[in-house]
């Protein structure tokens, strides 16, 4: 007895569909009932949101493909201008029923053109009697396009007077989309995060053909035990599972343990997975390097991650410039006299710090400072005399291009540019050594 019931589709298709979308049965069945029968008019727009990799794209794609509904699937990141987006939709629409794989290129500049061309296309493709689905993946990009694009898509059914449904897939809630001029509210549908049980079920679903499902499920169980606290991204977990599986199988392959010897297998893999969490997962070392280590059975210790190469070697004056910038960023300007002048007046200790300054400056982040102050501090911290040569100034600019300093604010550089120092205390300590 299938979970999904629908008079339109044969039972076998529905059963197949069910097996394809584990843990998303409720969402799929509500979508099915919204869609209705082929010739029915559906909601003009449906908004589906949920966290990263909770199956939005996958479910939509499988649903539309298994039921063989006419649809267009577009990724909005890829089509970064409205023109590209509209043209892409039209091109895909062309190739819906026709034999050739790629439709010819249709020039389409405005939304108005789009509506006209869309109507034409529906007729030429003979799709008047079916609902056409347009799926816009990563729909949050639409907000950065022209103001008429999002409301236009919301009312596409009304404007074209055709049977069309636009489906938005997004990671953020509808409230962040809503344009301030009136618009047609879409039907919103939430895809909840997968629970640990769901993850377990989905991950063990595709087990390698050489091993039994139970064996792989036990492995996934261990994997989730290690990674579930830091990562719930299904794609990432699947990737990690594939990366480390050979290591898990090792004792079995060598004949030291059989497939049911869970405890021994666990001992073998656990520390390995923890190491993976610190390295591969953070992309400190790449997955191909990780595989090579596994193959050679070497310790990953000798391979340093990206963060291990944190030290930056700088020219002599650049070092001092950076230190001066750091001092200028984190010390209030009032204290300069006290720190950098030989004969500063006495300062009463009690009133020296204003109340709000008692919180650590490091918590407040770097403050902007003018160029002159930077140079003044530089002159006082370098032992010998520094001439203000062109080289010194160009060094400041190169520090900015290296992102160690940032230029703050206005573009008019003539009246005193201001900078901020963006490096951390540890970095400065390493340099000052």
């Amino acid at each position: 007895m299938p979970n999904f019931e629908h008079p339109e589709y044969p039972e076998a298709t529905l059963l197949h569909l069910e097996s394809m979308v584990p843990c998303r049965e409720s969402q799929v069945s509500s979508l099915l009932s919204i869609f209705g029968e082929r010739q029915h008019f559906s909601f003009p727009s449906i908004f589906i949101y949920g966290h990263t990799s909770c199956g939005k794209t996958y479910v939509m794609q499988t649903l539309l493909e298994t039921l063989e509904l006419p649809h267009v699937f577009v990724n909005c990141v890829e089509c970064f201008t409205s023109r590209l987006l509209l043209e892409e939709i039209l091109t895909q629409l062309q190739s819906l029923s026709s034999e050739k794989k790629h439709g010819s290129h249709v020039p389409c500049d405005t939304f108005n053109d789009f509506v006209r061309l869309f109507k034409q296309e529906i007729i030429t493709q003979d799709l008047q009697n079916q609902t056409v689905y347009i799926v816009l993946d990563k729909a949050e990009q639409l907000r950065e396009m022209e103001a008429n694009v999002l409301p236009g898509f919301l009312r596409l059914q009304e404007m074209t007077d055709r049977n069309v449904t636009v489906i938005f897939l997004s990671e953020i809630v509808w409230e962040l989309f809503r344009p301030n001029t009136g618009c047609l509210e879409p039907f919103t549908l939430y895809f909840s995060d997968y629970s640990i049980g769901n993850l377990q079920k989905i991950l063990s679903h595709y087990h390698p053909p050489e091993y039994s499902a139970d064996f792989y499920a036990a492995y996934i169980n261990i994997l989730l035990g290690v990674f579930y606290t830091v990562c719930r991204d299904l794609k990432e977990l699947r990737h990690l599972a594939a990366l480390n599986f050979t290591k898990y199988c090792e004792p079995v392959v060598r004949g030291e343990a059989n497939e049911r010897d869970t405890r021994r297998l666990w001992k073998n893999i656990e520390s390995h997975l923890k190491k993976a969490m610190q390295t591969v997962y953070l992309r400190e070392i790449s997955s191909s390097q990780w595989e090579r280590i596994q193959k050679d059975d070497g310790e990953p210790g000798h391979l340093k991650g990206l963060s291990a190469h944190a030290h930056v070697e700088l020219p002599y004056y650049s070092k001092f410039l950076l230190i001066a910038a750091y001092l200028a960023s984190y010390n209030p300007a009032r204290t300069d006299k006290r720190f950098f002048l030989k004969h500063h007046g006495k300062i009463k200790k009690t009133n020296f710090l204003k109340k709000h300054e008692k919180t650590s400056n490091h918590l407040l982040g770097p403050k902007p400072f003018p160029l002159d102050r930077l140079l003044a501090i530089l002159y006082s911290i370098v032992d010998n005399k520094v001439a203000p040569t062109a080289n010194i100034f160009s060094q400041i600019t190169s520090l900015v291009t290296l992102q160690l300093l940032t230029l703050v604010g206005h573009d008019d550089q003539l009246d005193g540019p201001k900078y901020k120092c963006t490096v951390s205390l540890d970095f400065i300590r390493a340099i000052a050594r």
Binding site: L243, S288, P315, T389, A390
Partner: protein, 681 residues
């Protein structure tokens, strides 16, 4: 004013060299000097020398980069093959397809990177793939521009692979408007299909150079300057198409690979398969360059201690750029050949001897006036002195032998220097410096054995363990043997004999422990070669005729390479005589002359003011100064009315100052301007 120089990203230095060289291509050398000083020949010699040196530097660069490039090519090959032949079907499906990425850490010497990237893309295009794209941050402010640039470069390189199929390429470039990843993958498909269907003969030629389906390599030259958004979008988009065409990214990183994590969030960086590659440090690069260009007799031209120090200081203190170091070296060559008439003799020994014979009388006089030659003359007996100073032919003969001596001196000097360096590098704390360039500087400047550092080095040397000493001496012997100088055959013999004795000693006193074995007398005998070093390491300044090959006007070089715009501007405005050379402008320090240009007067007056300057007071002071000496008419001064012309001159001078960035209009007070330079705060 300083501010301007900051934001205008100063290439002042490069420009200086450029101007210099464009001059020297004209008849700059012969300007003002008559040809009795061989200016034409000097120019030719200079160009020839530079050509040799340039090709040598390119060779060095190539050798140094070889290792890195080999690693990169290996990486490309591997990433590529992995994409095609996955071990198991299951693995392939489960693993997310990451974009292979090479993080190339190149160091902060950004000016050198261009060279490296240029040769990298050449190497890749020769060995791996025709599809190499290099992108710069300033060309790609948005994802659209990035893709445009990317596709533009790709289509171009397609043209250059098969020039026969131009028509189709034109078609593609017409369709260029749609620059999306989809059309890119379509393009790739068509291109690879085309090469497959080619005639077998043609296929062989192309496949010998490139791989079957060549990857598309995208080089981000300056990773730090790219905006996060552009990078993220590009990676996200291309990761969706990675299965359609093999894409490989190369990130050029100047600081540290941490920047990747700073620029890219985890969701994006998880799409990459990053491997780290590190280039040779710029200091090692410099050491090689100095070793191959300066510490060799291959090139006759030499740098004096001060000049070398200036170049090295710029390198260490300011930019870490080897390119700039070589540019500075080039500048000193040009400057030397231009300013020193006798530099005509700065060529290979045989050629120089020939040239001596054809020297003009003028040139002979030039030789006689060289300080080192005068010292030499004074040390001779009086008849010879007279002969040297009066007979040109005798002078030429002597000059030839002196040049030969100089050549031999250099041969010996470099050999002995290397030996001494072997000794000093093994010492704790490196009293004479760790690098050979430091030792070289020390020896060039003064008699090194008279310095304190040398003393302490010798002290430390006495305390070396025997096996260390033996190793050092063996290395020395190798250096001596490999050197071309014949004088050292004797030394080598002595050294080997000594080493043999040392080995024997070890056998005899095996039980005594090595500390006491090499007793003082043994050790002191080991310094015999050390002591005889002295004559070879005598500073170059002591050598007769050293001016011919040594460039020693460090000041000129410093002025050109380490310009101080602020100071120059201040000098120009404060003391116009310095640049204008007009006698009437000569004035005492502190007083303001009315003959100076208006802007100078205004500038000097504004120096006396605080942060805000009252324009009315300033104008009054200005008119007082201007009229002071002209002011034979006291009545005119007495009237409060300022002359209109003076007023206009004042306004113009003030706006000139504003243009130069010394002042700006202030909003705090209406009739005031604010100072922008020092003293204002």
């Amino acid at each position: 004013t300083a501010v301007r120089f900051v934001n205008k990203k100063c290439y002042i230095r490069a420009r200086f060299v450029y101007i210099y060289l464009s001059f020297c291509l004209t008849d700059y050398f012969s300007q003002g000097k008559n040809d009795s000083e061989d200016s034409g020949l000097r120019f030719a010699t200079c160009q020839l020398l530079w050509k040799q040196i340039n090709s040598e530097t390119e060779k060095i660069q190539e050798e140094l980069n070889k290792q890195l490039f080999d690693n990169l090519i290996h990486f490309l090959r591997q990433s590529h093959s992995e994409l095609q032949t996955k071990k198991t079907e299951w693995m392939c499906r489960m693993k997310s397809s990451e974009i292979p990425t090479a993080a190339l850490v190149l160091g902060v010497n950004v000016t050198d990177h261009d060279m490296t990237f240029k040769s990298l893309s050449e190497v890749l295009q020769d060995n791996v793939t025709p599809y190499v794209v290099s992108l710069q941050a300033k060309e790609c402010p948005g994802i659209k521009h990035l893709l445009q640039k990317l596709m533009g470069q790709l289509m171009d390189c397609n043209v250059d692979v098969d020039s026969s199929e131009e028509e189709e390429c034109v078609n593609i470039s017409q369709k260029k408007i749609r620059c999306s990843m989809a059309s890119l993958s379509k393009w790739y498909e068509s291109v690879t299909k085309k090469t497959d269907s080619e005639t077998p003969s043609k296929k062989r030629t192309s496949s010998s150079r490139h791989w079957q389906s060549p990857p598309i390599v995208v080089i981000f030259k300056d990773m730090e300057s790219f905006t996060t958004k552009v990078l993220q979008d590009f990676i996200v988009i291309s990761s969706q198409h990675i299965r359609e065409f093999p894409l490989v990214l190369i990130f050029g990183i100047a600081t540290s690979p941490m920047i990747i994590h700073r620029l890219l969030p985890h969701s994006v960086s998880s799409l990459l398969c990053i491997e780290l590659f590190q280039s040779l440090s710029c200091k090692e690069h410099l050491a090689t360059v100095i070793d191959k260009l300066l510490l060799t007799t291959q090139f006759p031209f030499k740098l004096s201690e001060k000049v070398l120090q200036v170049l090295i200081n710029i390198f260490l203190y300011h930019d870490f750029s080897v390119q700039n170091f070589i540019k500075g070296f080039q500048l000193s060559i040009v400057e030397h050949f231009y300013s020193q008439p006798l530099s005509v003799l700065c060529c290979q020994l045989l050629e120089a001897k020939k040239r001596v014979n054809s020297l003009s009388h003028n040139q002979c006089e030039n030789i006689r006036s060289l300080p080192s030659f005068r010292r030499y003359v004074e040390s001779q007996v009086s008849e010879k002195q007279i002969a040297l100073l009066t007979e040109d032919s005798f002078l030429k003969e002597v000059t030839q032998t002196l040049l030969e001596d100089l050549h031999i001196y250099h041969e010996n000097y470099f050999t002995v220097l290397r030996c001494l360096h072997v000794f000093t590098t093994s010492l704790p704390k490196y009293p004479l410096g760790k690098q050979i360039r430091e030792l070289h500087c020390a020896c060039l400047g003064k008699s090194v054995w008279e310095t304190e550092e040398y003393e302490s080095a010798i002290q430390l040397l006495r305390m070396l363990a025997k096996d260390e000493l033996v190793a050092i001496l063996q290395k020395c012997a190798e250096i001596f043997i490999s050197s071309s100088g014949k004088q050292f055959s004797n030394t080598v013999e002595k050294l080997e004999e000594f080493l043999a004795r040392f080995q024997n000693l070890e056998g005899e006193h095996f039980s005594v422990g090595f500390r006491s074995v090499p007793s003082v007398e043994e050790l002191s005998s080991s310094y015999i070669p050390c002591c005889s070093f002295r004559s070879y390491l005598a500073p170059a300044e002591m050598q007769t005729l050293n001016e011919v090959v040594y460039f020693n006007t460090a000041n000129t070089l410093r002025e050109h390479l380490n310009a101080a715009p602020r100071i120059a501007l201040h000098t120009a405005l404060n003391n116009p005589y310095c640049y204008l050379k007009n006698q009437t402008l000569k004035s005492d320090v502190g007083c303001i002359s009315n003959t100076a240009p208006d802007i100078c007067i205004v500038y000097k007056l504004h120096l006396e003011c605080g942060r805000l300057i009252n324009l009315v007071d300033w104008l009054e002071a200005f008119s007082t100064v201007v009229t002071a000496v002209e002011g034979t008419d006291p009545d005119a001064v007495a009237t409060d009315q300022v002359d209109e012309i003076i007023h206009a001159r004042f306004i113009r001078a003030v706006s000139e100052l504003e243009l130069l960035g010394f002042i700006k209009p202030s909003k705090q007070k209406t009739d005031h301007v604010a100072r922008l330079t020092w003293g204002g705060c």
